[in-house]
Structure formats: C-alpha cells, structure tokens
C-alpha cells in the first residue's frame, strides 16, 4: 500500500480555502503565502512600510472575506474565480488606499496603485503564487508515480541543468533515453497541472 498518497490528495491552499473558509490552517497559510506578495505589490506601488502594511492587511482581510461569501460558480475556472475575488474587492480597496494617502498626505493627483494596470498586476502576482503551488503539488504527485531514476533524469537535466551527457553517464543510461525520460516527465507534469487545475475549478 502506498502510504505516501495521503498527503498528496490535499488540494492547493486556495482550493481548500474556497471549500472551507473557516479552516484555520488554510487561512493562516494563505496569509503566509499570499501576504508577502501583496505587501511587495504595495511597496512596488510606492507605499511606505507602515502604509504598505496597513493596505496589505486590508487586502488580505478583504480577500478572505470575499472568499467566505463568494457564491460557488461551477462555470468559473479557478483563475477566473481568483480574478473575480480581486475585482470584487477592488472598489473597497481603492477607498482604503485613498484614505491612507489622504491621511499621510502622501499623494495628490494620480495614484500609481489606483489603476487597472495595478489591479491586474496584483492578480498576476497572486496567480503566480497559485501557479507555483499547483506546479509543486503536480511535481510531488508525478514523482510518486514514476521510477526514481526517471525523476532523477528530470531533476538533474531540467531543474539542475546538468548537461544531458553527464546525466546519461551518471545514471548509466543512453543519451537518447535520457531525453526520452525528460520528455516523459515534462508531459506528465503538464498533464498533472492541467488535471489539478481542472480539479480546482
């Protein structure tokens, strides 16, 4: 019996959050994973540390709140859902942002964060975190399915960028077989990511 299959069945963080918004493990993880990216976004938009922290807090809470109440829409894929969450909270966020700006007297006129580009940038950052999570999950699942040597091929030649000739020698394989194994793993990964993303939607 494969005892390792259990932990891998857990879905991505955002997926869990959407299903179970009150799960304390999930939302605390959410804060830890996505918070830093939001904070980076705020700083990128020119906010000072303290203001960036305030806005990060507001955005995190807003996102969590929207996730709680957001109606499940089976037609929406996960990315669409994420995008909608951000869009839905955008108006409120802007108000907070403006208040912050006014209180600190930092800004007159156009605000770099107050734009569609900035909003989309935030979505992109969050999506990147999601992609990464998805890929890591996919990799760990693929890895359990394939022979250790096949994974080694991918790890050495693709992730660690070792020349294929060296990989072939090290693993005592034909060069062409190394390419083939690498190709297989890439295909598995693509399929797995696609599958997981389907699961999440």
């Amino acid at each position: 019996m494969n005892t390792a299959s259990g932990p891998l069945t857990s879905v991505t963080l955002l997926g869990r959050l959407r299903l179970l918004p009150a799960d304390p493990g999930a939302w605390q993880e959410f804060i830890d994973c996505y918070g830093p990216r939001i904070y980076r976004w705020c700083r990128h938009g020119g906010l000072q540390e303290a203001d960036a922290e305030d806005l990060t807090q507001t955005i995190l809470l807003k996102l969590l709140r929207v996730m709680q109440t957001f109606e499940y829409d089976a037609t929406l894929r996960f990315r669409g859902w994420l995008r909608t969450v951000v869009h839905n909270s955008w108006h409120d966020l802007l108000r907070t942002l403006q208040r912050t700006r006014v209180e600190t007297g930092a800004m007159n006129g156009a605000d770099p964060l107050d734009s569609i580009e900035a909003r989309d940038d935030l979505v992109t950052r969050l999506e990147a975190a999601y992609d990464r999570e998805l890929l890591e999950l996919a990799a760990s699942r693929v890895r359990l399915r394939i022979a250790p040597q096949t994974w080694d091929v991918y790890r050495l030649s693709a992730i660690e960028q070792m020349p294929v000739g060296d990989v072939a020698f090290k693993l005592n394989m034909k060069v062409a077989a190394v390419y083939k194994a690498r190709n297989n793993v890439q295909k598995y990964l693509r399929d797995e990511v696609k599958y997981l993303e389907g699961e999440e939607s």
């Binding site: 304390p24 804060i31 020698f169 005592n172």
Partner: protein
Amino acid sequence: MSVACPIQRRLRSFLDGQLTSADEAMIEQHVDRCPDCRRALEELTQDSSHAPMLASHDNLVEEPLTPRLRKNVAAAYSAELGTYYNTGNDDPTKPENPSSTAEWPNVPGYEVTGLLGRGGLSVVYRATDQRLKRPVALKIIRVQATPDERERLQREAEALATLRHPGVVQIYEIGEEQGRPFLALEYVAGGSLSRHMAGKPQPARAAARLVATLAETMDLAHQRGLVHRDLKPANVLLHWDNESRLRDDLNYCRPKVTDFGLVKNMSVESGLTHSRDLLGTPSYMAPEQAGGDPETVGPACDIWALGAILYELLTGRPPFHGATAVDTLMQVRQTEPVPPCRLQAKLPRDLETICLKCLEKAPGQRYATARELAEDLHRFRDGQSIQARPVSPAGRAWRWCRRNPAITALTGIAALLLVALAIGGPVAAYREAGLRGEALERARQAEAERLRASQNFDLATLALDETLKQVYERIGVRPDTMHDFDQNAWEATIPYLEQLVSQEATTPELQLRKARATRQLARSLADRNETQRAAKLFQQATSALAALAATDAKTAEIQRDLAICHLEYGKCLIRNPDTASDGEAQLVIAAKQLDKLVAANPQVATYREDLANTVGFLGEQMLKDRDRRPDARAHLERAAELRHQLSAEFPNKQAYLASEVFTLLSLGMVRSEVNEPGKSVEAFERALSGARQLSVVAPGDGQFLYLQAVAVDGLAVANLKTKNLDEAKTHAHEATGIHDRLAAAFPASKQFAYSAVQSHEVYRRVLTQQQDWPAAADQVRAAIAINTRYTDAHPDARAAKLDSVTMNRYLGELLRKMGRHDEAVAQFREAIALGDSLSDGGSVVDDGIRLRLAEVGVELGVTLANGKDAAAALAQFEKVVEMLSPTDAIPINRELRRLLKQALIHQSKLLSTLGRPDDAKKAEAKAKLLSDAE
C-alpha cells in the same frame, strides 16, 4: 547532418514512445554518436516554464510578513469568522428559504413551518404537532426513494424506538403520506453541533464532557446491538434547558444523537448490509468502514467517529479532510491524523492521547467499548490518570513524518533511526547522500520536542525499534548495502544518546541497550575528536557489557557487543600515534573474543563478519609500518579467507562480496610488497571479478566501478614489477579509462580524483619503462588536469597541490628526455613557482615542500647544465644547497640529505668547469661529510 540522421519527426516519435524497441535501440545508438541529433533532442525537450519555476525555489521566496502584521490579520480574521457564523440563521423557527415553501409537504396533523436540513435520503422540516401543540422535526423520505431507502427509514424508526434515552432524539410517530414515509421526531432547538462549532476549536474540558456523554449514549446503543455508523457533528443536536442562562455554553448542553438512517443491527442478518456500498460520511468514517467491507463494521466504527468528533471539537477541523470524498477516504485509510496538540498548542496531552486512541487504524487498538472511552474522558476531567497509553514520541514523530510527502517523510526520523541502530537495531545503511543532509536538518527541528518527550527510557527505546521497522518498510532500506552511514549523520544523534545514557536502566535488557547507547555515544564523540570523553565512555560500556556477559543468559550476543566495544575503542585509540599501541591491544582483545565466539557459534555469519572486520583492520594498520609487512599479510590473508567463505555462502549479499573485494585489494598490495607478484596478481584478479559482479548488480554505482579500476590498477602495478610491460600497459590503459570517467562524473570526490591521478601515475611509470616519452608525458598531463580540477574546487587540498609540483617535475623530465630543452626548463620553473606559492613566499616551509622544491631544483640544475648554461645551473644548485643545509633548528631527514649531497656534487663539478677549483673542493668536502655521517 549525416545521411543516417533520423528526421525530426522521427525523433519526436521516439520521445513519445511511438517506435518499436528495435527502432528505439537504433536511434539510441545513433544519438550516442551524432551531436546534431543530440542538439535536436535538446531543443525538442526544452522546458521553458516548469523546470525554471521548480528550480528557482529559493530566490522566489518572498520576505515573510512582519509578525505584527501577521498577528493583526489573523486576529481580525478570527474575529470576523466568529461574527460570520454567528450571524447565520440562528433562529430555527425562521424559514430558511421562503421561496421554496411551495415544496413543503402537507402532512395531516402537522403544520410545516420551516426547513431544517436535507440529507441524502430525506428532508427534515420543522413542524408543529397540531394535536399536542409541540414542535417536532418531520423527516420525510425523498420522492424518488427506493425500496431500500424505505427499509432504512423503517429500521431507523425501530432503532429509535429501542433507544428511549435522553441522549437520543425521540421518535413520536412513523407514518406515510402520499406514498412518502415520514418520521415525527423530537425537535431539538439548539441546532447541530457542527453549526455550533462553526469550524472553531472548543474548550478542552467542555469537549471532553460532551464526547463522554455521547459515548455513554452510544454504549447503550451498542449494548442493544445497534451501531450508528454515521456519527458526526451534524448528527449531534444540542439541547439546552429553555430557562438556562448558559445557553450556547457547551458545558451545559445535552447532546442528542440523531439520524440513525444508517444504523446496523448487529443481531439481525439483513439484506441491506450485504451491499458493499460505502455508507457514512468520509471525514468521520472508520478505516474499516471506508474499506467497504460490511462484515468488519461494528461498535469500533462508532468509537472512531466519537474520536473524530472529539478531534474536531479540539482543533476546529475533522481529522481527515480531502478535496473529494475519495481523497478523504484514502486519507482515512492510509494516513495518520495530525496530533491535535500540533494544531492547538495548549491542549492537554491526555486528551490528545484519548482522541488518538479512538483514531487508531486497527479497531482492536481503539477502546474496546464506548463505556471505556467515556470513563477515560471522565478520568481526564477529574484529573486522574487515564488508561490509554500515549503513542510513544518516536512513534508519533514517525506518524507525523508519514504524512509528509516522499522524501521529507522519511528524513524526519533519520536521526532516530540511527539511534535505534546504535542501541539494538540490525546493522543497516542507506545511501542517498542528499537524504542525509535533509535528515540532519529534520532531526534538528524535531530535537527540542523529542528531548522533552523522551523522558521514559524504556518507552523511548521500544518506540525506536518500532520506528526502525517502519523506516525499513517506508524507504526500502537495504540492510546489506556496502555503504556505511555518513559519520556526520551520527552527530545528530548525540543529544538523543546523551539522553539515553543519562537514564537509569533497571532491567538487564535496558542495561544492554544503555551500554550500546554508551558505546555509540563514545564512537560519535571519538569522531568529533573528543577522545578523552570517548575513552571514558568506551571503558564504561566495556565494563557494563562484561558484567552483563557474566550474568545474562543471552551471553553470545553480549559477548559480541563487548568485542565490538573493544574494536571501536581500539579504532579510537589508534588514531592518535601516542595511543596507537594501546589501540592495537584493544583490537587484539576484540579479535580473540570474536575468534572464540566464531568457534562456539560457527553458524552465525555476523560473528564471522565481525572477526573479518577486526582482523582486516589490524592488517591494514600493520600495513602502514614497512617492517611489519609479513604480519600485515598474515592478518589480511585471514580476513580474505573469512570474507571469501561468507560471500561464497551468501552469494546474494552484496555487502559480503564488496568487503571481500576491499580486502583482496589490500591483500594484493601487501603480497606485491613482500615480492610475491604471482600471488598478488591472483588477489587482484579475484578482486576484479568480484567488482565486476557487483557492477552487474548495481550498474550505476560509482563505488563498484571504482573498485574495478583499483583492481585493474593493482594488476598493472604487479605486472610492472615483474616487467611484463605490455601486460601492464593494457591494464593501466583500462584503469585510467575508468578512473577518468569517474573523476569527471564526480568532480567533488576526493577519493576518485586522488585515485585517478594515481592511476595515470602508474600508466606513466609503465610508459616510462617502455621509453615512450611522449605517451608518458600525456599521462602526466592528464593527471595534472584532474589534480588541478580538484584543487581548484578544494583550495585547501594541500597534499594534492604538493603532488602537482611533483607531476610538473615529471613532465619536465620527460620533455628533457624528448630533447625539448626549453620546454623542460619552463616546466621546471612552473613547478618551482607552484611550490613557492605553497610555501607562502617562504614563510611556510616544511619537509614536504622542501623535498619537492629540492627535487625540482636539482632536475632544473641538471637540465640547465646540459644546456651549457653553467652559470644558471650553478645558481640553481646553490639555491638548493642553501635551502637544504641543516641548521640547529632545522635538521634534515634521509631523503633531504640525499638531495643535498646530489646538489653539492653537481655544484662542485660546475665550479671546477667554471674555473673555481677551491670552491669546488669545498663543496666536494661538504658532500663527503654528508656521506661519512651516514
């Protein structure tokens, strides 16, 4: 591209596995030789998205949020969660979904006022019994109900009628309206436990009380032969006395079990239970239930579910929860729950123990009855000690690890595994080097908790055995692999061992384990060069084991432990030249004891292996002393004999064969040294055939390939000694080929680099004997290249750099022999510059550098003199003489004296050539003085 190149499309098919194996083999052959195709494949398999993302793990990690910010958000969100759930539909009398009132059924005698919930089989409405003017819950079967489902409702009614108990929702009536059967049930105003919890942890004592009450209720049901099979928070309703001001306080509620729709009557054989359908709710389903075998479902399922409810009360979430029902079921069957204390820090240990006992995978490991569970929960509430024994810390650590994917799962307890090995596990090893690094890291993390938890020596050691067993299964450790544990890994175990050693051991069994722990601790300390403490501990372990051997019945095993203790103590002492002879004495004791043990127990292979190890080690030690070669040889012959017996007897044990190969290599060497070249060749040939056998078993293993190369090198040396130069050349050629591949594949390996250099050196000697100067020079260049690559990577590798000086000298000599005078001079100067750089401009001068510089200096001088540049040659010899001339502070050894004499003689000759006969005589006199001194 050459004519035979497959077209791109065909390569694509190859990658996708769409070719026959014959075609695949053809392409594989072709690609090995065709750089164009390799490039094409490289392009076809470029991964521009995934691999970089997986590789960039470290640089993408963002700065974490400040703790203050994190805390603020968490606090704010917790607070919001509270309000969110509490503002839910708290008033059960209020219709939840007014728009669908049209669907409400019309049941004579009842007025339906609201929807309470929907299940798989039925819908539950809130209603008023118009005759008795009391609220009821009407459970009405769905319209499309099958006969089976009707049967279930009937069974539920019967069960409820059997269970007249305040802990069970009461049944008032069973009826049928318009073809839809219904039950009229007691209405419980407090709503379900799941709604009350709202995903939040509840106070521990209140949780214990609630589950104790539920367990008592279920005990009653079980006594009547009824198993609920679907206990979960949603099926527990909460009742508070109406006037209670403590509404909403779990401490004052009365839980009532409801929804007996899946009830199983143990005393009645029924058609329904033959179905292999999965019945129940995955998150609360026991593993045996999740397995779908109705035969195994009994009261233990309900006890599991009670544990799951307790778990959720304590942590705010069910023990298992996957994305899909199937995922959850997989978890239920295969993974261990996260210990509640890890989710809720301040949870009482005992309560966790009770909870986890309910959640044991094997029904027999849980509480035998719900009553026992209730009693243990009461004991906890009363502050008495509970009956359940906690799963030992190591066991829990193991389970915790098992929840983590692949590698991380097994590394967490790697250090414990090592401890277990030290104090009683079978000898085992595993090889993944990366694993060890992670193991250390994991071990460090686990350390604090483990130290706190492993107060109980007895329990800890037993748990370690269990851990070990599971680790074997999990990572497929092969106990017979040749690689020993990385000594560094033992470092991580020192704290655990210290802990174990400081415990009082009361029984002989524990005394033995303690002695073993002491021994291992001593060994680890010895590895850290804490020799004095190590020696003291070795002595402690020795006397403890000797005492045990005198009394205990399992004498042979203990005698073995004692012998091993002497062996390791000896190895520890031998490292220091001052105590080397004491160390040898210890080794001799060990060998004697093992000899006796082998004689008394000839069937035990381990003892023979130990004896071979000890005798072999003694042999290797003696090999270091030129004068003791015959002794060394005798020991190695004995060791080789023992090893050969073992490997012949157990042909499948790689480790025996590998050890035999090692010993044969040493034996070949010593036989060659005592001038028995024929026998030496025999040993090397056996070693080679063994190493080849091993490579067949484990083709990718560099170690086995390495052994082959060393054996072939041995053959080359032996043949060189007997002047079979052609034979020697063939072997040397083969050996350098293998060594080059190894050194290229493992550029960081000191062993492989050193050995490759040695191999080229042997080849050089063979070619020099054959007077093939250009080929010999090629060998030196190859050796220099490998050595340089290694020293570039390891700037501290001083010995290797010294070798470079010598090799540059060899190259110079060969160039001179080829008549390439200027190149030779340049080569010598390069060697000198290298040596100077090692002596740090003359500030670090030891005999090693002086010897090598002097060797080069003499050769350079000779070369310059041959080139008729007498003045330059003279200057060179003067430099050597100056460097080597002894002072009171710096005496010189025999080697250096020989060089000094050479330099003086050359100097004298040159001086007379240059017309300075007086100076020449002086130099000659000095040389003579040196000869006389010998």
